[in-house]
Symmetry: C2
Subunit: 504 residues, 2 copies
């Protein structure tokens, strides 16, 4: 049974550029494929944002009652540094730099990625296939594309024939990315170093490997390795079928990666693979793109430990997740110290609200304006989530309810004015949305174990330190810092007071 009492789920489809009613291919079941990470270095916070977004989509589909097969791949071969057919192989470059076997790099980066996603409380996907684990399937797909005449061989490499494809499927190539075919042909005509290709828009399906290339496999065309776009076509087809419901990924993958995926699937099987394309927007840091040259890069680990240059303190992964929820997945997500500090306050208010909700009572039996507010609030939460998973608006509705909960708690609304059943329903819905759908765990002081005591005692210590400094009692202030350092606790002084974190 799929819950639809609050209206249908609307999903923004990148292909049609509009919101559409979500109707899966098989009733009650959803097949979802999301382009996973290229595992050649530690997890990237931009990736984390993308996968948290799809985690919430996955969780909401489960919450609505769908049986979901969620496939997210691991790219462990063949992804080049320029995201196209040129440049160095990211993974091999790293392997050579670290003097390791490529699969040792893959192992480290995969474990790190899993750790970060676990910290952010993202559910693991149903299947997590690797590119190297599906070379046979990729070779078969290349063979099928060759058979159907949409690819050609040059010196042991196979290229997709975009001109033949465009001729046979007018207005298909470029439809997802919104690029006009003529523009596409035009804009890439000047590129050099593509001498093997008949046309600049053609792309590699299989790449002939020089003898020294560290990762290569036998194929009907000699030793080589798959082009980067191929794995997703092969693995989504294998695990979800030739046509499936949702394909997701970061916006940067729209072109050429996803455009080429469609071309490969149509070229191989004559079927348009995806019914709903979902793309998450980019991440910025203090309003600008994250880049090495701007020195504004920050890793998830740095966020969680407070070591990054842009942050004043450590932020619990749950704060980071909460901040992600405050942006819609199709909006740019801006990371900044101020935003994180504000998110921390919002998150604490939310968790405190949930705790208060557990404690308050309602004794009413009628239907008052407050009960209406609860009913409307719940309707509004689902309405926003059904509107292309609008978590920021759903959160706003939740905060409106939290205000009411606080009023009930402090007596501004009397318990007799709220119906017992309304309050029970509110408890059920908020717990489900906040914990199950948003995936937020309560990590505030007093939520778990000895962390509670430490939080309270550290608050006291920071107060004593503040007082010692005000009294110009530097001996005591120094003693406090020294002892805390010994205890592995770092203090950071910011303009809004001091914060602390335990070194792991």
């Amino acid at each position: 049974m799929i819950h639809s009492e609050y209206g249908p789920l609307m999903v923004h489809n990148s292909l049609t550029r509009q919101k559409e009613v979500f109707t899966p291919l098989v009733e009650g079941q959803v097949g979802m494929y999301v382009c996973g990470p290229t595992v050649y270095k530690s997890a990237h916070i931009g990736n984390a944002r993308t996968f948290v977004s799809f985690d919430i989509i996955y969780r909401y589909l489960l919450h609505l009652g769908y049986r979901v097969r969620y496939v997210r791949n691991i790219t462990d071969v063949g992804h080049l540094t320029d995201d196209g057919d040129q440049g160095e192989d990211k993974l091999l470059k790293q392997a050579i730099e670290e003097k390791k076997q490529p699969m040792e790099i893959v192992q480290m980066a995969t474990l790190d990625f899993h750790d970060v996603m676990k910290s952010l409380n993202a559910l693991p996907p149903s299947i997590e296939p690797t590119a190297t684990g599906h070379i046979i399937e990729q070779i078969r797909m290349v063979s099928q594309i060759l058979e159907r005449g949409y690819a050609y061989e040059v010196n042991g490499s196979i290229y997709f024939d975009t001109q033949k494809y465009i001729k046979d499927h007018p207005n298909q190539y470029g439809a997802l990315s919104g690029k006009k075919t003529d523009d596409l042909l035009e804009e890439t005509r000047d590129l050099n170093n593509q001498s093997d290709k008949k046309h600049p828009t053609d792309f590699a399906l299989w790449i002939s490997a020089p003898k020294e290339h560290l990762m290569q496999w036998e194929s009907p065309w000699g030793m080589g390795y798959p082009g980067w776009h191929l794995e997703c076509s092969a693995m989504s087809t294998k695990y979800l079928g030739k046509t499936f419901d949702i394909h997701g990924g970061g916006l940067d993958l729209l072109f050429p990666h996803h455009e080429n995926e469609i071309a490969q699937n149509v070229g191989c099987c004559g079927t348009n693979p995806v019914r709903y394309w979902i793309h998450t927007n980019m991440l910025t840091v203090n309003g600008t793109k994250m880049s090495k040259s701007l020195n504004n890069s920050v890793s998830p680990a740095e966020l969680f430990t407070g070591e990054g240059s842009i942050m004043s303190k450590a932020f619990n992964p749950m704060i980071v997740r909460f901040l992600m929820l405050q942006s819609h997945y199709r909006s740019t997500f801006d990371l900044s110290d101020d935003a994180l500090l504000a998110a921390e306050k919002g998150y604490n208010r939310l968790m405190q609200g949930l705790k208060t909700l557990e404690q308050i009572q309602a004794t009413g039996t009628g239907q008052t304006e407050h009960d209406d507010r609860i009913t409307n609030g719940i309707e509004s939460i689902y309405g926003h989530l059904n509107d292309d998973f609008s978590t920021p608006q759903a959160l706003a509705s939740i905060f409106d309810l939290i205000t009411m909960i606080n009023s009930l708690n402090d007596g501004h609304i009397s318990s007799a004015e709220v119906n017992t059943n309304s309050l029970e329903e509110l408890r059920k819905v908020l717990a489900a949305i906040i914990h199950d759908v948003f995936g937020l765990i309560d990590v505030t002081a007093g939520a778990s174990g000895s962390g509670q005591s430490l939080d309270a005692v550290m608050e006291l210590v920071l107060e004593l330190r503040q007082q010692a400094r005000a009294d110009r009692n530097f001996a005591t202030a120094d003693l406090i810092r020294a002892k805390l350092t010994e205890a592995g606790i770092t203090i950071k002084d910011g303009k809004d007071g001091s914060s602390w974190s335990v070194q792991s």
Copy 2:
């Protein structure tokens, strides 16, 4: 630089049935392959014991200074219920039972396995290759064995020709398991249902798949899947070379799995793949084999949560790991409530000893009998670990030193009787052996994470309170007591100073 100041490392080689000096193929480097889990259900405690044993071997090799490439595979296809060529495929059986895609079962079981190993503080291997990820390599190996005449095709399946192999390599087949060739031929002659095979000892390298088989791949012999023994030969060769240093696994894999691995490698490449075979012994529960019919099964999760029928309480994974260390890897490991309770005491005594060691001081400058005891103790620890990784004996030597540490602490030995340098050396060695090699983390009350931090911070708070009182700064002293009470912490003032406790 490999540390050899305490003599050479001796390793019991299952192939020669004796301890041999360990000399790796390439100086300073070790290639180690361990047969990993078949991922079709939750992690098994017997497996956990095997992998903790190899984790300690891995850690000790690293401690000695070796650069180790540790490969442990994931069997995600083709392992049949009777461990031979007959019976049902464990993974497919589970997939059909749970109505899931086989790779969904693989994902759940792999994540569970990783969680359990992380709880037990086992380091991840350098590479963790999957059987499905190496179908091409396996097909190539079958082709090579066919080319060299040690295999034959029947109806799309390929079998290893043991008779031809035995003829060409007298006394080779059975050398590892100690089975005499004549006995081998004799004991399996009666088996039925092996009509495709020329001889009962022959085993499948590649198995022709019926159309409905859920996992199958294209091969030169039609659609099929690899025989179970093949993956380890193919993956160890790929990542460690045709000959490598150590191959490990549970004793139950000695025959037929490892015997067949050797045959495959010799048949394919003419090379004996492994220089040192290491096998861990079996696990029993209350002295008997764990089995469904005896209702004495216990999973790692049950051990850690105390839900298992055989345990009186939950045991921290570190207690389980400590108990594992108390048996030599070549001895049967018996799990029982009594053993776990005793291990808990031993573990606590060990951790307390380490803490005491941090606090005590030595002021001596000469060389006393106590210094000799330290020197001999350290020598003895390394002597035992160099003697085929004898953790139980090394632990006994450590406990002898703990007794001495306690004597120093309670004044039975005066601090002037122990040389400062001896004590420093003892601290260094015990921390390295217990934390780095044994992989034991201190999880005793007040030890780790925020608990540890709380101890240190409370020490500071009590010091500040003491100072405030000495300064007759009663406002501060009162503030401290009030805030601590709020935090649920009670202070008790005694004649030896103040102590504190958290109200539960």
